[in-house]
Symmetry: D2
Subunit: 408 residues, 4 copies
Amino acid sequence: MALDLEAIYVDLHRHPELSFQETRTAGVIAQRLGELGIEFEEGVGRTGIAAVIRNGTGPVVWLRADMDALPVPEQTGLDYASTARGTDPAGNEVPVMHACGHDMHVTAMLGALERLVATKDEWTGTIVTVFQPAEEYGAGAQAMIADGVLDRFPTPDVVLGQHVTPLPSGTVGVRPGTQMAASDGLTVTLFGRGGHGSRPHSTIDPIVMAAATIMRLQTVVSREIDPRDVAVVTVGSIHAGLKNNIIPAEAKLELSLRYPDETARERVLEKVERVVRAEAAASGAVKQPTIVTDHTLPPTINDVDATARITAAFRREFGEGAVVDPGMFTGSEDVSWFARESGAPLVYWFWGGVDPQKYADAAAAGTIERDIPTNHSPFFAPVLQPTLNRGVENLVVAAREFLADASA
Amino acid sequence: MALDLEAIYVDLHRHPELSFQETRTAGVIAQRLGELGIEFEEGVGRTGIAAVIRNGTGPVVWLRADMDALPVPEQTGLDYASTARGTDPAGNEVPVMHACGHDMHVTAMLGALERLVATKDEWTGTIVTVFQPAEEYGAGAQAMIADGVLDRFPTPDVVLGQHVTPLPSGTVGVRPGTQMAASDGLTVTLFGRGGHGSRPHSTIDPIVMAAATIMRLQTVVSREIDPRDVAVVTVGSIHAGLKNNIIPAEAKLELSLRYPDETARERVLEKVERVVRAEAAASGAVKQPTIVTDHTLPPTINDVDATARITAAFRREFGEGAVVDPGMFTGSEDVSWFARESGAPLVYWFWGGVDPQKYADAAAAGTIERDIPTNHSPFFAPVLQPTLNRGVENLVVAAREFLADASA
Amino acid sequence: MALDLEAIYVDLHRHPELSFQETRTAGVIAQRLGELGIEFEEGVGRTGIAAVIRNGTGPVVWLRADMDALPVPEQTGLDYASTARGTDPAGNEVPVMHACGHDMHVTAMLGALERLVATKDEWTGTIVTVFQPAEEYGAGAQAMIADGVLDRFPTPDVVLGQHVTPLPSGTVGVRPGTQMAASDGLTVTLFGRGGHGSRPHSTIDPIVMAAATIMRLQTVVSREIDPRDVAVVTVGSIHAGLKNNIIPAEAKLELSLRYPDETARERVLEKVERVVRAEAAASGAVKQPTIVTDHTLPPTINDVDATARITAAFRREFGEGAVVDPGMFTGSEDVSWFARESGAPLVYWFWGGVDPQKYADAAAAGTIERDIPTNHSPFFAPVLQPTLNRGVENLVVAAREFLADASA
Amino acid sequence: MALDLEAIYVDLHRHPELSFQETRTAGVIAQRLGELGIEFEEGVGRTGIAAVIRNGTGPVVWLRADMDALPVPEQTGLDYASTARGTDPAGNEVPVMHACGHDMHVTAMLGALERLVATKDEWTGTIVTVFQPAEEYGAGAQAMIADGVLDRFPTPDVVLGQHVTPLPSGTVGVRPGTQMAASDGLTVTLFGRGGHGSRPHSTIDPIVMAAATIMRLQTVVSREIDPRDVAVVTVGSIHAGLKNNIIPAEAKLELSLRYPDETARERVLEKVERVVRAEAAASGAVKQPTIVTDHTLPPTINDVDATARITAAFRREFGEGAVVDPGMFTGSEDVSWFARESGAPLVYWFWGGVDPQKYADAAAAGTIERDIPTNHSPFFAPVLQPTLNRGVENLVVAAREFLADASA
């Protein structure tokens, strides 16, 4: 009685859950693991699950899938589009959507585990699978580690993970070295002085302060970073004020910063702080702004040798043309904590979720950025197949590359 | 058995209610009117109350007090500071505070009615009192009129109202002609294209669009309006985005505009719209921004002759030095609808609520704007006395100026 | 042999001269004064002229006309448009134009002196006339005073002056109290670090620093000054860089600030300095910007009693409707130094130079600001008549109001 | 009698000349070529020189050196610092400096030619040398080609050139493929409406329009270009206004844009134009801004095979460690026109001019961008040696790599 993966995916897509709230998702996973006869623990790192398949002597391969969804109002128009709502950490009710494809990650992982269980006579070794919560807050991997996942389960010889992206379905992208950027999430609070909307001179307007700060932050990337280097300074949210005729007392900005390494990180952080403080001074702010780091993600660095093995395996299995070097992504991940903390090599790859014809047309027209919705977009929607099947195969091929061959 | 006005004020201050939600407040008023034996109707214009004292032949004097509070988190540190919360029109839970002194307006009005009832043998005529809801949304006066208040109650010969402000307690400010500005409240929605915070190039960033718009809106006042004219363009709220690593699809701004008259209104609105549209174009927005007018308030224009009478009466009663010309206020009011719709003259005055010594010290130090909290500030707190007593006396003196003298 | 005033005006208009370079202009004046038999001294305050008509006992009336032109490229299309060029204080060759009407001031003054000389039997007293240089740099009045003009000529009992403006020709505008604003001219130099245009990260870009400063300076007026107060912060020039592919080391801004009085002056200056310093800090500037005051002009305050006399005289002579209260002008003048230093009352008025029909049409269409070129515009061009004749009459009527009547 | 290269360099450094004005420089070159007995033509492409050494059968190698200097005020403090002044294309007198090292290029080329002449028995073939004018305006190579240099001289089999840069002296940097960026130089003129500095509302302020445009242009790079792509949008000069109290009618910006290829070029140009037009619209400009392309430079693309040969030769000659891949430079060059028009392969390399110890110290401190002056900086000053000798050797080694070996 095989898993109906497409049904699982559609169900998960319809029921997305925010970070550290993935209880229904964990329940689905637990049920399926049970059906597959796989040993697992729930509640690892709050809402995470760790599972283990022990199959004789051999390497310990860790496979990781992340589970959480995002506060995005789905606009895909799909039959199975989400209408779910959740409560964000600030207590606000927000729309929720699997706008980053973690539903696909979970489903492909369940399919891969099913396949690996079914072929246990072909390989030996140990497979540890972590269904990780709260990747979107950059907090779930560390939560599982803090909860002892590296101690309570066999230590990894290699850590493997994957992400669905706007490449053509049927394609896999992987590169040695830096695969994804380092990142910090900051909350900046600017303090003005509130008052009546008709009397700006009796206030220190934090909304104008915020606008000037945002415009000035653009110059960090446009003027202060070597044009050949990668850096992103995004203000992803701004909230200030409750009513048109009241000038509020403060404004809150949430920033997402990206860079390839620690040196760049320090430079960008220093410049961002300099701009924030100076713009508060330009407004005559009496109280200094606060800058709080909500999360810090290291760069996702693929081990050179392990990546070479997997790249070769993918090429062998899927054909030369199906495996591309996607370049460094400016997105960030917390998967590398499992590798960093255990000292194991990491390989993290991308696989395509876009209808190949649609992708080719957009490429020909030079409109990929406009026409192909990217992760976190309200329009992000991987085509079901061959995306889902390939997600399963990627994991099986990669895991088998490191597990021992039972026939050897 | 006299009303304990201070207790009423403190009670109202502790229990502020947002616009059109003033049910508890209306209940307090109704109870006191009943105690005073005054005839009244509840639910006029949703949560408003209209009361009438008929006392023989003579002019019909309308007295108006507004009742609603604001979504402001009180920071006065007073014993009786509000900790109330309410639900704003968008459905968000917000802190609520009497940051505009309408609790003082209601209490002073009750005190004045008590006094006028007690002295019915000294005057003849009719007093209609409107306890108006939703002044802060510029909607309550029109709601009462739409509900027939001008038809169901005796037609005014004069409309009188007052507002507590950051003048020294003991002072009253009034001028003929334009006393308060005209105003519009606009909601501007800017449309970008959402996406991943690490991939700005695949999005149209509505937060940068909003920041550029806000900075450019400053030039309407700084460059495009005659420096000798009065105009205010305030962005009182901005909301966009839910998470640092998601670039949202849109940003919402709430604007409060102020001007002395209709000509200026048209000019400022045209310029604001021009800036909003051009900044969307600068971002390459595909979808045009929307600009919705939430409310429109006419200027508050004091009748020249009626104002002269009241000014003289105040001077006679309180002394020459206690009556000042406060200049035009850039704040706005909907009180004038009662006068406009009925054709009656209007007199609307301000009275002081600041400790006179504190005011004098700040004036001497040139720090009034910094040290004296203004209406809508989370620190706004009139000193209880003589503010409250003077609020009562102002109304009694002004009403008696227009009522007939029973001894005559 | 009467002066051909129109020919004199056209000649002066064709030959404008920059501040403290008015040697040809002074030569024309000197020649005409000689023809009129008026005693005068040249070279007073470098290029100024002071003349005196002694005519028996009576008050000493000072009349003042300013002589200098501006670095503006004339675009009026007039037959007698200027094609002159001059050298500005920085040594650059610039176009020169009488874009402020000082040619009209000089010509009208010569016409008035001719008339007053011709009617010496009708009045007694003394007329001192100062043809002042360098009004546009706010330096000429002080230069004449430093050169002893107040000591070397009879002390004024009243100081009179006039300016041609975009009011309808035939109109005169005057008011008691503050007639023109106080002003400061500042030069702000921003220091960055130069380098190759393709390597912004190795520089501190002073042009971006300047742009951010200019945008932020807008908020001084839009947010920090009471909307009911008058203030102007103009950046009138910006110069930085020599070539597209070199990021320069510095940027130079010239600011013109306006306010009604000393209190406002201090506030605006403090805010401007705060913004300039903070924006340099936001850029990470190593070297502090410099802010140099090029000139300071006091407000031009008309004496209440003297203005009442002149207003009455103008009304009598030209009709009620021809005399208006023009409000406070935000332009500034150095004429008041003659009154301040001598303790004499000042009356300074405006007279119209715009075709009345054209003005009425623009007023009806609400396009005055767009269609009627203002002083300092390259399109500024008073209609010759009745402007010139009225300029003469204004001076004669005003002077005669204060001189003694010989028939008395 | 060998050339005294250091003296030649110092002389050229002291006497820099702007683009197409390199007559003294050409005279120095002509004199030295004459002394070396090399055949040459002057006035090729206005002020250029082409020289040819015919030495039997064999490949034709083109060597190119550029000659012009920049409008930069030298601040190196060197004994031989330039105090020269010149006249720029707009007719302004400007300071002139060899801030880009073309004096070093010319001198090294003369040294290389001397060496190649002296060793004519070791090689056969033809060397054509172009001393090119006006590289800084991106116009000189095309001017020489338009003047027939490719027809009048032997057709190249390879084109070689070099540039001194802020690498450690003793180092050479070269890479196959795109070595330098494509570039456009634009002049943007923004049209407002001029007027009096005290009456901004009667004007359309082009300086505020320019500031808003500059701030918005930052978002092209910060938000609209893939963070992994290379793009630069520099505003290298801004000029507007002549006096603090006159709001001018227009503002002129000079932009330098950089990108790796034609696709990126079109994108950036489209975005820049969009921003410029929208910001003019935001100001209510009546007249559309003009955008004029002053020059267009293609990317400098090194031929893969030819670059491999030269890289190997450099490594052999100078040691492995002395040859680095410098990455793509965002600077641009017109040298590639000689290769594009003739179809010959191009190799263009960089060589270091910074004191190695100083460079190492700055690298260790992470202060290279701050402490090592880059090309076009007023502080740019290559250390004389070994820079000059290595410049000579680079050219000799590279030329000999392609010339035939006489001993073969």
